[in-house]
């Protein structure tokens, strides 16, 4: 052996160190590869934003897709879009997950006849198989689906025509069939009315759920908030009256709630119209109506049928007559009975009487769209012919009939008589589980497309992500089938691909400009109306079934018709009303619960003539005694998140599908599916289920959490010095007497921002600063936020935006049961001021404090308050959380050792702990692709929380620094603020007294949450204004 020299030693040492390092590497080595040819528009590290359109529902909101290095990371609203004006709902925010869903097909799949499982197949072979089946007898082939988008729908028609297809059926679970038919009956135009809330001063919602699942929720939330802007309208602005059986999200934001029996909306509308006419509304037309259709509509009869006092109807009717600009919204899906057309027509008549038609309600010249052609009646006919064996080939696209159709309709058994089922779908669902052939389509973010949500409005959908899987657009697949069919069909089909067809459809427009703006936004042209009130009469619907509770199957705020169930984010965000996540529940009244002897979480068996399901009870005060309400959307048996497959229980449904309880019956006048049809029998099973519940109590016990102030107190406080500013808010509980400075109603629970505090903060901060080094220079910023509770509806869009922006993990059902959700932003929902009751012995969350017919709901979004004197900071032994010079309560994840003391000491309970390594172990591939590269992914064992989207502040700082300026007001928008449809959140620099947030924080309604603890939060809440019930 040679002697070991110094150089040899160094070589050996180096080699062994290298070997050790190499051995320590994980198997999966990811490399940073620079662009060989740098795309012109991409600067690594800078986002590129594309305009597009949301396709989650039929509203068609404009999107700005924020991409980083070719990957969409966040969806935001397109500020130029007339519908959403830059805002988005929770469903749109979450829809980014659709592209990265583990349920997606990686390529075409064919069912193996031997094993019954799907196995991969090539595109050419798949298309030629369809072409062969289609070519045998095109007349015995049928297309079934929802709305694939405007141009795609036209291509479908062309395809059907070219191939001589047996037919095309368009079906949507929540369609506008009834309203279209009603509009035709009343105005002679089959067109969907557009409602403008902003111009109204009194809004009646007959169960349209305008702020939640209604015709255009983002638009209506914005308009509703603007119409009630207390700063601009000292009188309180528009009043909202909600008529419906349960205290829904819209009802929670209303000023008055009429808890009417479901199905009695028409009677109420006609009675109101009658009173309004008698009080002077409607003019000559009205007087004519009194002798015509309204002759039979008496207030006492309506009151009896609605189950509310007659005096309320009279009062409201008068108020409608006196209001300058009233508007009524027609019943929504949940109350679509077999007499729904009458109710819809009655509400349109009411609008005519109160002069809303043509102003607040616009009925545009209709355009032919897939949505307007949706028909449940024709679906019934299709199933009929399937059962009779007259369909050999069924092509299903953009829908999931095996899930969304009532079991009693027998779609599945009818399918067994269909020769071949071909599904065009992006991800696995109940229908693809039955398909013989699956032709995967790209996710919305990967594909071209367009929508025509309302006349005059055309939105473009452009791809922002290279397709992750071997997929083809529905249009391209059909064109491929056409080509495989032979020359004759091919000749009648357009040449080129779907993009060429799309451009051809847009040939009249400036394509580039439309692409940049996201579409063409023109105002609809009003249609010529021919009012005909003769055929309007509201009759109480007769319900089938023998039970004594009316089954109200209402659209889930987040999951919608069930298409949202596949997205873990929508499953994880608690329902805004009940705070239940990942599960189905049945809402019953407290007295019904008492009668049945059940408590929260006790499992009920709900039986109707069509079927039976078992689900947990949710007793609440805000529902009629004669109603049981179950949300739609759950009960999927397929999908990683939609079913319990992700929890290792493949095939086990998550929750129940309420549609299984409904018979396939329709509205008599329009053929629309009747959701309100059954009386249910309810029995307890004796079993109990711990619901994943995000909120313990709606009783704020008079603490300074969701404050409210009456209009009177607000006005009194603002008017004069020394006025009694106490109002009926919770100031009493904090032991502060009146200061006598009379500076506004909630002044004594507010501590306005004081620059002197910053000095104290700096001193406080210095004690943390490493080894006594002083902070070099004073910062020009003190970041602050305001949240206007008067605008917050609780819709939870902010929560969804926060999750996506900040890479917040979704923890799943089991963890949610332990309330281990990681949400940095939650919404506390309080009922009234609450009282400091002394409850005993309850292991379950507290009893609902809602009362029938009473509305005093305060939604209080709760995020890190970035306290000036933060209780979390001094207790951290390792300075993982500290106060930075801009007033942020910063988190250093890498320092955190997970003692969790900070979270114990946080009075707002906004800190979240990573009990597991959620992101890396629980997110199936390729969900991690949606992560925001600007935000650290937190690992197991560290604490995390909101830091006012500090990455956005940093990015704005860089841009400002490049300009040589300070960050301008409005330059930083937090994710929650950006998406809030009601514009309830403001963010900015409190040091700048001209900034919008400073102005907002100066409001006499301003208060700090749990002010008595002297935490000096940077978040100022503006108390909700209680406007009281509508006076005539």
């Amino acid at each position: 052996m040679p002697e070991l020299h110094r150089r040899n030693f160094l070589k050996l040492a180096g080699a062994s160190a290298g070997a050790t390092a190499a051995a320590g590497c994980s198997d999966h080595v990811e490399k940073l590869i620079p662009y060989v040819v740098q795309p012109e528009e991409i600067t690594p590290g800078n986002p590129v934003i594309y305009a597009s359109t949301c396709t989650e529902c039929s509203v068609g909101c404009g999107l700005h897709v924020k991409t980083r290095e070719g990957r969409p990371i966040k969806l935001e609203g397109n500020p130029q879009h007339p519908i959403n004006a830059g805002r988005l709902c929770a469903r749109a925010q979450a829809s980014i997950e659709r592209s990265f869903s583990p349920d997606r097909f990686h390529g075409p799949m064919q069912r193996d006849p031997a094993s019954g499982a799907l196995r991969p197949i090539g595109w050419d072979e798949a298309l030629s198989q369809v072409a062969e089946a289609l070519g045998r007898n095109p007349a015995r082939a049928h297309l079934l689906g929802g709305d694939p988008g405007d141009s795609a729908s036209r291509l479908l028609d062309r395809f059907a025509e070219a191939t001589g297809l047996g037919g095309r059926t368009i079906y949507q679970p929540f369609s506008s069939e009834v309203l279209l038919a009603a509009s035709e009956r009343v105005f002679g135009v089959r067109s969907e009315p557009l409602f403008n809330i902003e111009a109204a001063d009194l809004v009646l919602d007959f169960g349209a759920e305008m702020l939640d699942t209604g015709p255009s929720p983002v638009e209506h939330q914005r308009q509703w908030a603007a119409a009630r802007d207390i700063a601009a309208k000292p009188g309180g602005g528009a009043r909202l009256v909600y008529a419906g059986a349960r205290l829904s999200l819209t009802a929670s934001s209303s000023d008055e709630w009429l808890p009417i029996r479901p199905g009695s909306e028409g009677m109420l509308a006609l009675a109101l119209a009658r009173v309004a006419i008698e009080s002077g509304a409607g003019g000559a037309l009205g007087l004519g109506l009194l002798n015509g259709p309204l002759a039979a509509a008496g207030v006492p009869a309506a009151a009896k049928s609605c189950g509310i006092p007659a005096a309320d109807i009279t009062r409201l009717g008068r108020a409608l007559a006196q209001a300058g600009a009233a508007v009524a919204l027609p019943p929504g899906a949940a109350v679509t009975s077999r007499r729904a057309i009458d109710a819809n027509a009655a509400v349109l008549l009411l609008n005519q009487v109160i002069g809303a038609i043509g102003t607040r309600v616009q009925i545009p010249v209709p355009e032919r769209s897939a949505r307007s052609r949706a028909s449940f009646q024709s679906l019934l006919e299709l199933v009929q012919s399937m059962q009779e064996g007259r369909v050999d080939l069924l092509l299903v696209h953009d829908s999931n009939p095996a899930y969304s159709l009532p079991k009693a309709l027998g779609f599945e058994s009818a399918l067994s008589r269909v020769g071949m089922l071909v599904c065009f779908a992006s991800a696995a669902n109940e229908t693809t589980a039955l398909a013989d052939l699956v032709l995967p389509t790209p996710a919305p973010l990967e594909a071209w497309g367009d929508v025509r949500p309302r006349p005059g409005l055309r939105g473009l959908v452009q791809p922002t992500l290279r397709p992750l899987h071997n997929t083809r657009h529905l249009g391209d697949a059909l064109l491929g089938i056409g080509r495989a069919l032979g020359e004759q069909a091919q000749a009648q089909l357009p040449g080129g691909d779907f993009l060429a067809w799309l451009k051809q459809q847009w040939s009249g427009a400036d394509w580039r400009a439309a692409l940049q703006r996201g579409g063409i936004y023109e105002s609809p042209r009003p249609a010529a109306l021919r009012f005909d009130g003769s055929n309007i009469a509201a009759i109480e619907p007769d319900l089938t079934g023998s039970g004594n509770l009316t089954l109200l199957a209402f659209p889930h705020s987040l999951l919608g018709d069930g298409s949202g169930a596949a997205l873990p984010l929508l499953q994880e965000i608690p329902d805004p009303i009940t705070a239940v996540a990942w599960e189905s529940w049945a809402e019953i009244s407290l007295s019904t619960a008492e009668r049945l002897g059940v408590e929260l979480g006790d499992v009920l068996r709900v039986t109707t003539s069509a079927g039976s399901v078992e689900l947990a009870a949710f007793p609440r005060g805000g529902i009629r005694d004669d109603v049981i309400a179950i949300p739609t959307g759950q009960g999927h048996s397929q999908g990683h998140f939609a079913s319990k497959a992700g929890q290792g229980l493949a095939g086990t449904p998550r929750g129940v599908n309420v549609v299984d309880l409904l018979p396939p019956l329709v509205d008599h006048g329009s053929g629309g599916f009747a959701w309100l049809i059954e009386n249910a029998e309810v029995a307890r099973t004796g079993r109990h289920r711990r619901l994943p519940l995000a909120q313990w109590s709606d009783n704020k016990r008079g603490r300074q959490l969701g404050e409210a102030v009456t209009l009177g107190a607000l006005a009194a406080g603002a008017k004069a010095d020394g006025a009694d500013g106490h109002g009926d808010h919770g100031a009493k509980a904090n032991g502060h007497g009146g200061h006598g400075d009379g500076h506004g109603a909630v002044h004594e629970i507010r501590e306005p921002y004081n620059p002197a505090d910053d000095a104290a903060d700096a001193q406080y901060r210095d004690t943390f600063h490493e080894r006594g080094e002083a902070v070099a220079k004073e910062s020009p910023y003190r970041w602050g936020m305001t949240v206007d509770l008067d605008r917050c509806t609780g819709c939870s869009a902010c929560i969804a935006a926060c999750y996506v922006e900040n890479n917040i993990p979704r923890v799943g059902e089991d963890e949610s049961r332990l309330v281990r959700q990681m949400a940095w932003l939650r919404i506390d929902r309080w009922v009234g001021e609450g009282e400091a009751t002394l409850e005993t012995g309850r292991v379950h969350p507290a009893r609902s404090r809602e009362r029938l017919g009473q509305v005093d709901i305060r939604n209080s979004p709760m995020m890190c308050q970035q306290c000036g004197a933060a209780p979390c900071e001094p207790v951290c032994p390792v300075i993982a959380t500290y106060h930075n010079e801009e007033g942020l309560n910063a988190m250093v994840y890498n320092r955190c050792i997970g003692t969790r003391y900070c979270a114990n000491n946080c009075p707002y309970k906004v800190r979240r702990f990573n009990y597991f390594d959620h992101q890396l172990t629980k997110w199936p591939e390729p969900m991690e692709l949606a992560l925001n590269p600007d935000v650290t992914v937190r690992g197991q064992g560290v604490m995390e929380k909101c830091t006012f989207c500090v990455q956005r502040i940093q990015s704005a700082r860089q841009n400002a620094a490049a300009r040589g300026e300070n960050i301008a007001d409005g330059e930083v928008q937090t994710a929650c603020q950006q998406t809030c449809p009601a514009n309830a959140i403001h963010f900015g620099n409190l040091r700048d007294e001209n900034s919008e947030v400073s102005q907002q924080a100066d409001s006499p309604r301003g208060y700090h949450a749990l002010h008595v603890l002297n935490t000096r939060p940077a978040v100022t809440y503006l108390a909700k204004v209680r406007r009281g019930e509508v006076k005539s």
């Binding site: 709606d698 281990r820 400091a836």
Partner: protein
């Protein structure tokens, strides 16, 4: 010169007499290993292995294997930590404070109490590591110059805790060892083989010379002085983990004395719970007598009243403060979902010890055993009540919660008893459970006095 005669007495070839009787009695405990002992040892080792396995599993998967539910971020681990820190109090109290007060009755129990202190501190310290989310980064809590440029937050009670516990552990171990020295020497002189080697090393050349005895008693005296404030400081600091927060139910100035009294209470109870079976099995009735029991139970009665007063005072302050959140938290403590823990605590810690008002019961060994065991249970529940119920009912009622420990937490909790018992069992076979030299000193002392009297 008693020291001279003692030194003489410790030589192996000593003629039979009182001293060697003491030696024989007390060293007999260390001899022979019965099947029962082995079975017990195996059980404790098994529970430690099980807990260790669960712990590794927890480190691998995450703390979610526990029952933590928002907003209850601290659970059984912290409860058990505080419990063991409390147990650790009796040893130093008996050895140091009672030494300084010349309470001679301590001699029979001080050795085992000191051993318990050391073992309890070691057990408790582990729970700090078990509790944290990232054990692999937990050294961040130590202030030492490092290239990461990190420092610690000296304002955090958890940082104080780190120092309090490590200081206490160091002093307890030194104190224990110094007291053990003469006895190790006795054992050395009698042992053979490996044991001989071990004791020779540990005895540090103890010969029992007058000079050594002089230094020894000096050392004990000074260490007693040093340890005395520690008895008060450790649990005061642990109490500040809670009292320095703003959590309703934690934020109270009474916490330091309340916790110290509770710690002494539980520590004495644990000494009794452990020593009663040892006394019985090894026939040490001559050394641990009614006299000792009576003094110990009187102490229990006193501290029981102190903690009882503290319980009552907490409620009084909650009521008197007028703070609704505080009042609600305390009301729910007694009548809310955790009523069982609260009333268990009150029964075990306040009601059961009242039996010791009766002289007969103060010396009735079965009663003492039952009551001291109840006190141990009660004191664990006291910490459970303070930690869990307070966290579950804080300022925002929307995020109140309920916590139920999981089997993983309970396995580790059980493992802590296994660990403690395992160390004690090994200790019994390695070192004299009663301080031979001190007992002898007492015997000689008494003999001398009785001689004088007649």
């Amino acid at each position: 010169m008693p020291a001279m005669s003692l030194a003489g007495a410790m030589r192996p070839a000593d003629p039979p007499g009182a001293d060697s009787q003491v030696n024989r009695d007390l060293l007999r405990v260390m001899e022979g290993i019965s099947p029962g002992y082995l079975l017990l040892l195996a059980a404790t080792v098994l529970s430690v292995v099980a807990a260790g396995g669960v712990w590794i599993w927890q480190v691998y998967l995450g703390l979610g294997v526990g029952g933590y539910a928002h907003p209850i971020f601290w659970g059984v681990y912290i409860v058990t930590f505080v419990f063991w820190v409390g147990i650790a109090h009796a040893g130093t109290l008996i050895s140091a404070i009672l030494y300084l007060f010349r309470a001679k009755w301590r001699n029979a129990i001080n050795r085992s109490a000191e051993a318990m202190t050391v073992f309890a501190v070691l057990t408790a310290a582990q729970f700090l590591g078990i509790h944290v989310g990232r054990i692999w980064k937990s050294y961040f809590i130590l202030p030492y110059p490092n290239q990461r440029g990190l420092w610690v937050n000296f304002r955090s009670p958890l940082e104080w805790d780190t120092f309090a516990i490590s200081t206490y552990a160091t002093i307890s171990i030194v104190f224990f060892f110094i007291g053990l020295l003469p006895d190790i020497a006795i054992a050395r002189d009698r042992a053979r083989g490996l044991r001989k080697l071990l004791y020779t090393a540990l005895a540090l050349g103890w010969q029992g010379t007058a000079r050594q005895w002089k230094s020894h008693s000096r050392a004990v005296l000074h260490l007693s002085g040093l340890a005395t404030p520690l008895v008060l400081s450790v649990h005061s600091v642990v109490s500040w983990d809670f009292a320095m927060s703003i959590v309703p139910g934690w934020h109270a100035t009474i916490f330091a004395p309340y916790f110290v009294a509770g710690a002494i209470f539980s520590g004495f109870a644990m000494v009794l719970t452990v020593m009663i079976p040892v006394r019985r099995i090894y026939g040490l009735e001559a050394y641990i007598t009614d006299y000792h029991f009576e003094n110990m139970t009187r102490f229990l009665l006193l501290t029981s009243w102190i903690v009882g007063y503290a319980y009552g005072f907490e409620y009084f302050v909650a009521w008197y403060s007028g703070v609704e959140a505080e009042q609600t938290a305390f009301w729910l403590r007694a009548f809310g979902p955790y009523w069982f823990s609260t009333w268990t605590m009150v029964f075990c810690n306040v009601i059961a010890p009242q039996l010791f008002w009766f002289k007969r019961l103060r010396t009735h060994v079965p009663t003492i055993f039952v009551v001291s065991t109840l006190i141990n249970i009660g004191m664990w529940f006291e910490r459970y009540v303070i930690i869990i119920t307070s966290l579950g009912r804080e300022y925002d009622p929307a995020v109140w919660g309920i916590y139920t420990p999981t089997w993983a937490e309970l396995t580790i909790f059980a493992g802590s008893f296994g660990f403690f018992a395992m160390l004690f069992l090994l200790f019994m076979k390695l070192f004299p459970v009663i301080a031979i030299s001190e007992v002898k000193e007492l015997v000689i002392h008494e003999r001398a006095h009785s001689g004088e009297a007649h």
